[in-house]
């Protein structure tokens, strides 16, 4: 069963994020995934996150697969046109990778190659449409494929966006376009998440709550200033600031947030950003 089916069968799905290296030494990424083996249903592999050039998501997914872990291929529209994206979708399937998260992608100027030409030939909605067409055995131009892939398609949504309505409209389009599950931007405010889940209940699609482990009060403030749709309440920042052990406090806060919100969603997506070895503690503390 893929992660969307698991969620539909009532399993509380746990996904976690790992990031490929800038370079070819994959030990750190594979070790991070190894720590979570058996605790996580699938591993998202980022696609040159924040527009920083790194080893690709597709080969990293394949390496996880070879070590017996289930990957989720993240695909952005930033660097590839429709020819390359469709080709990589076919390639992913041929390599046994069937979970695909379709994203727009950050703008190139935010990363470490601001000189690059940005692509955005497709957007997250038309990428989902393209993937679904491939499943039906045709490409975007209507040409027939020899053998068609099967995917479990996912998309993202930002429950903390203000205003929320444009996000909801786009989420609905993504569902119509074929998204079978959603992973959310990091959420630190259960009330806001509840408001969001009520607003999307009619879509009847599994939603996995996004959790980013707080590493420090400074990181929380940085996200509040710079990351769209993320708001860490002052009380949590203070907790981090006064904590004797930041790591223990981080785990405690993440577990508490999951506990408060797990009844409102079908899974959780944990983004540890370097603290992957803490993820099993979070899962245990949250009673998952």
């Amino acid at each position: 069963m893929n992660i969307a089916e698991l969620a539909r069968h009532g399993k509380f799905v746990i996904t976690a994020e790992v990031g490929p290296p800038k370079g070819v030494d994959l030990r750190e990424m594979l070790e991070a995934a190894e720590v979570m083996r058996g605790q996580v249903d699938a591993f998202n592999v980022t696609d040159q996150q924040s527009s920083v050039m790194r080893l690709g998501s597709l080969p990293a997914c394949r390496l996880l697969k070879e070590s017996g872990l289930e990957p989720v291929l993240q695909m952005t529209c930033r660097d590839r046109n429709r020819i390359a994206l469709q080709s990589d979708l076919l390639g992913a399937y041929a390599l046994g990778i069937t979970n695909v998260l379709c994203l727009t992608g950050d703008f190139v100027a935010l990363g470490d190659h601001p000189q690059a030409r940005s692509v955005f030939d497709l957007d997250s909605v038309s990428l989902l449409v393209a993937a679904r067409k491939l499943q039906e055995g045709i490409d975007m131009s209507g040409n027939e494929l020899t053998g068609s892939p099967e995917f479990c398609l996912g998309a993202v949504v930002s429950p903390g966006a203000d205003p929320l309505e444009p996000q909801l409209i786009k989420m609905e389009k993504k569902v119509k376009a074929g998204a079978q599950f959603f992973q959310t931007q990091a959420v630190y405010e259960p009330e806001r998440f509840e408001h969001f889940t009520r607003a999307v209940a009619h879509l009847n699609v599994p939603v996995f709550l996004g959790i980013v482990l707080l590493r420090s009060a400074g990181m929380a403030r940085f996200m509040n200033r710079n990351v769209a749709g993320v708001h860490v309440p002052e009380a949590l920042i203070e907790e981090m600031e006064n904590a004797e052990s930041r790591a223990r406090k981080s785990v405690e806060i993440a577990a508490r947030l999951i506990n408060e919100m797990k009844g409102m969603c079908q899974g959780v997506h944990i983004m540890a950003i370097g603290w992957e070895k803490r993820v099993p503690e979070v899962i245990e503390a949250a009673g998952l």
């Binding site: 950050d106 393209a130 309505e165 444009p166 996000q167 786009k170 389009k173 769209a228 749709g229």
Partner: protein
């Protein structure tokens, strides 16, 4: 000169679905020269829409629709006719449609596709831009071009990168184009337009046919470069 072509009538009728009363705006500039938005085409369109059961509350042909200040001035005498209409059909380039949308609180529908601006920017001094995409999307976005207003040229709604209505790229300088589109459609009560899934853009339409590139200057330059047979 900005080269435009008329959108097919069925496409325009699709835009007008559910609407009864329409005000038509033409342009005496490039659109008249292209036979896509001069007085003759405006009157013809009026007849075609009436034959489809629409009521035309009025029409006008403005000297240069790409000049926002002029548009406001020229539309003022028609205020009552415009207010009583459900929407406006604007028969000119993307700049003219955006200029009209910028001064009228009604939904505007584009009647043309721009094939080539030939390097010209019209009489335009505003911030609106036309990408000459050959398949104008302004109907779906309240008259704000998603290709030029959104840093990523997204056509199906905002990415998750905007914060406080500002773009993730150069937030001090750039508004989120989709925030503007959302606010505009919300104000017009037409958020239904934002729910329509737009197919991936056909960028081949941005490569205009050779004959349209044949401005006199282009032809002369080209001729000099081609070997004598």
């Amino acid at each position: 000169m900005i080269i435009s072509e008329a959108k097919p009538l069925p496409e325009i009728l699709g835009y007008l679905e559910g609407e009864q009363r329409v005000f038509i705006v033409g342009c005496k500039g490039c659109a008249e020269a292209c036979h896509t938005g001069g007085e003759a085409q405006v009157v013809e369109m009026k007849g075609q829409l009436e034959a489809e059961g629409k009521e035309i509350t009025g029409y006008t042909v403005v000297d240069f629709l790409c000049d926002k200040a002029l548009v406001k001035l020229r539309l003022r005498p028609h205020e009552a006719e415009i207010v009583s209409a459900d929407s406006l059909l604007v028969m000119t380039c993307g700049l003219g449609v955006q200029a009209t949308a910028a001064v009228v609180d009604k939904l505007v529908h584009p009647a043309c596709n721009v094939l080539n601006v030939g390097g010209a920017r019209g009489e335009w001094r505003g911030e609106e831009r036309c990408l000459e995409c050959g398949d104008c999307l302004l109907d779906y976005t309240g008259g704000i071009c998603p290709l030029t207003a959104c840093t990523k040229s997204l056509i199906n709604g905002p990415c998750g990168g905007a914060k406080d209505g500002r773009c993730e790229f150069e937030p001090d300088a750039r508004e989120c184009g989709w925030q503007r589109i959302y606010e505009r459609l919300q104000k017009l009560g037409r958020l239904d337009k934002m729910s329509i899934i737009l197919e991936a853009k056909d960028y081949s339409k941005m490569r205009p046919p050779q004959n349209l590139r044949s401005t006199i200057m282009w032809a002369l330059e080209r001729k000099d470069k081609e070997p004598v047979k």
